[in-house]
């Protein structure tokens, strides 16, 4: 559409850069929270859509199906049961808000608690969508390094003390404790308890993002931090994007009423999509607890394929900790690899990756790291894509050495 009207002088200062035109997914796409299309429970979703529409479809004529601003009641009822069973969270439907994906939850929590110039604490390597939002809001983001058990409590304690000495009370501690994004760790129960003690001592609430928590290889997870909290100072969010399908934009928040009532005033969207809530509730009640182990099993085989391909193609040049669940692997390449540059070169070769600096508050630590998502590509695409990536790395950064590859192949 041609426009001779010049809108540019009307744009306010501080707008993000314009988006480029969509050109499709890369041939080998290792980015995004996309899932395994073979695992979408198609027959059951069709049945659920039929049943829910036949029974309650006429209610679509009323905003929010007349269930109020917190969302479709049967879906909240399912979540009350699910959260108790899986995460140990005791809550009622009144403590739950259904949102349009957990990204909307991030926005609502942020707008309820944050003003420009505020300080928040996050895990040093963390979800890009969370970090970008905080940057846009003009918030000071303090990253705490992680180890194999998640956020390090010694460094968190030191940071809280330091901030307190400077008269700064952070607005929250954001954590992804159960299948951390991007490192894939699970914070043990004892560390969760320590985190809660620090939260209480310093009067800083915890913002717990559990959106990958269903996808744990062992099927066992510690109780949610929310479930362990003695004082209610935890806001808990989750999603159906990872357990069912990401294109269904349905997430949820568990929060005390003091926070909930503020979030509701900021949720001015006339409700989240009702059809998706209806279909999910109808599907999840009978099928969720059998679907998730099957999905997780399939994802685990893709992780194995990815790790094998990396070992084969990169040898010792690609280092990683095996994640405890989820859909991504956090990979360390040799220090000379700048993954922001690798991103560009790989994309030109048909491979998309998440460069580490976009997923971290520590640009130096993350400059040679990258996140590879393995749920969406097929096993064959994983193998081919990693081979192309290795070839690009070799060409651009001289790693992995050809010999590493050959040695590995001979081993």
């Amino acid at each position: 559409m041609m426009s001779s009207f010049d809108f540019a002088p009307l744009f306010p200062a501080g707008l993000p850069a314009p988006t480029a035109r969509w050109t499709g997914l890369a041939k080998y796409s290792f980015v995004g929270g996309n899932n395994d299309s073979e695992q979408v429970p198609l027959d059951e979703l069709v049945e659920a859509a039929n049943a829910a529409l036949r029974r309650e479809g006429r209610n679509l004529a009323t905003y929010g199906l007349a269930h109020g601003p917190q969302g479709y009641l049967p879906l909240r009822e399912f979540l009350v049961t699910k959260l108790k069973r899986d995460a140990g969270i005791i809550c009622t439907v009144d403590d739950l808000l259904i949102v349009s994906g957990s990204l909307q939850a991030l926005d609502l929590v942020n707008h309820t608690l944050l003003a420009r110039g505020d300080t928040v604490i996050v895990e040093q390597d963390s979800y890009q969508g969370a970090l970008n939002r905080l940057t846009r809001l003009g918030v000071n983001v303090v990253g705490i390094p992680l180890d194999a058990d998640g956020m390090r409590m010694d460094l968190l304690a030191a940071t809280l003390t330091d901030l307190k000495d400077r008269g700064i009370r952070p607005k929250y501690i954001y954590t992804i404790p159960t299948v951390q994004n991007p490192t894939g760790s699970i914070m043990p129960e004892s560390r969760r308890a320590e985190l809660l003690r620090l939260s209480a001592n310093y009067g800083v609430p915890i913002f717990e993002d559990d959106c990958y928590a269903d996808l744990v290889w062992s099927g066992q997870r510690p109780p949610a931090i929310h479930a362990m909290s003695p004082n209610g100072g935890v806001i808990h969010i989750g999603s159906f994007s990872k357990s069912i399908a990401p294109a269904l934009r349905v997430g949820f928040v568990v929060a005390p009423w003091d926070v909930m009532s503020r979030m509701l005033s900021l949720k001015t969207d006339a409700g989240s999509g009702a059809l998706e809530q209806m279909v999910l509730a109808e599907y999840c009640k009978p099928h969720f607890s059998t679907h998730v182990p099957a999905l997780t099993k399939a994802l685990r085989t893709k992780l194995d394929t990815l790790m094998e391909a990396l070992n084969e193609q990169f040898g010792t040049a690609a280092e990683f900790e095996e994640p405890k669940g989820g859909i991504f692997l956090w990979v360390k390449l040799p220090d000379q690899v700048d993954t922001l540059k690798l991103y560009e070169a790989a994309l030109a070769a048909g491979v998309s990756i998440n460069p580490g600096p976009e997923w971290s508050t520590n640009k130096k630590h993350s400059s040679s790291r990258l996140r590879l998502c393995f749920a969406s590509p097929t096993h064959q695409q994983i193998r081919e894509g990693v081979a192309v990536l290795a070839e690009v790395c070799r060409r651009e950064f001289a790693v992995p050495a050809r010999s590493a590859n050959v040695e590995k192949a001979r081993a």
Copy 2:
């Protein structure tokens, strides 16, 4: 859920008041954009859900169904056809953005163009959701009085001149030209042309909200302002909330790429709900053009019931212009009626109404006015609800006089 953690000190200044707990819809609900539940095309929506899920359900594993950030391609293709046929708009799928209801469109346009302290022009009586957003953004809102043909161009011209003299360039002129909310007028083509001339002369773009434009009694509507624009300085938004079902949160924006590319950068929700887009596209292609006339016919009979009930219960005390379409009636009561007070008293009696001051920039003009939505209640509920409302008015404001009612009944 009990929380001893005190979140209150963490809330930033300027948060809106907390939302009260949901207590359900009023017995007689004349508020909100709710529609006629009898007109939800249930069988066809079930068929559409089946067909779309069977064919493309596996794509739900990928964000946005891999159709990019502008939304599901078949729905954009339907809109290209529909907008050309109904509104005369010539556009391509690249000019369209699917959003989570037209409220998200308002947010995206506002955040693309507005900063605190900016000025915008609106119709004096206008959509509450639009007015509230502008207030929250700290924008100066200038309302232009309406007549039976919509926004008055003489007063708009005078306002634009006055603002220009004061060095102020408004960011946009927001109009609901086709079934104006709340007055129900349709701006004739000649006035649309005049509006476009003023827009071009003063360099102020037009923000055209056409979300009720499908619901016109005559089935005939003027071309969209967007379609008539010689310079492309029009952003056009619409919705499926009024034509199909409001609980499906699907709207759209037509905008030049300069604006579109900025909106896309602000739309950080990982896409609008895919299932609703899939079902709508599947449903609308074969059924939209027959469904809408049937829906409109049913709505028209409810309007007739509402106008009859008002005449019967209020006599000459209730004045209104017959709307040209839509789902609401804008009613003037005698000057002594304060509809903000009436709202409270009526709600206590089980009747919810929209008080005029919430739908107007002119509190004096609107203080004795109210908006009554008629699509959702049954014919019987309309009659009973208006009777209760009249009784409350009599008790609280001594209007309508008992005699008016009786005179009318005898007439």
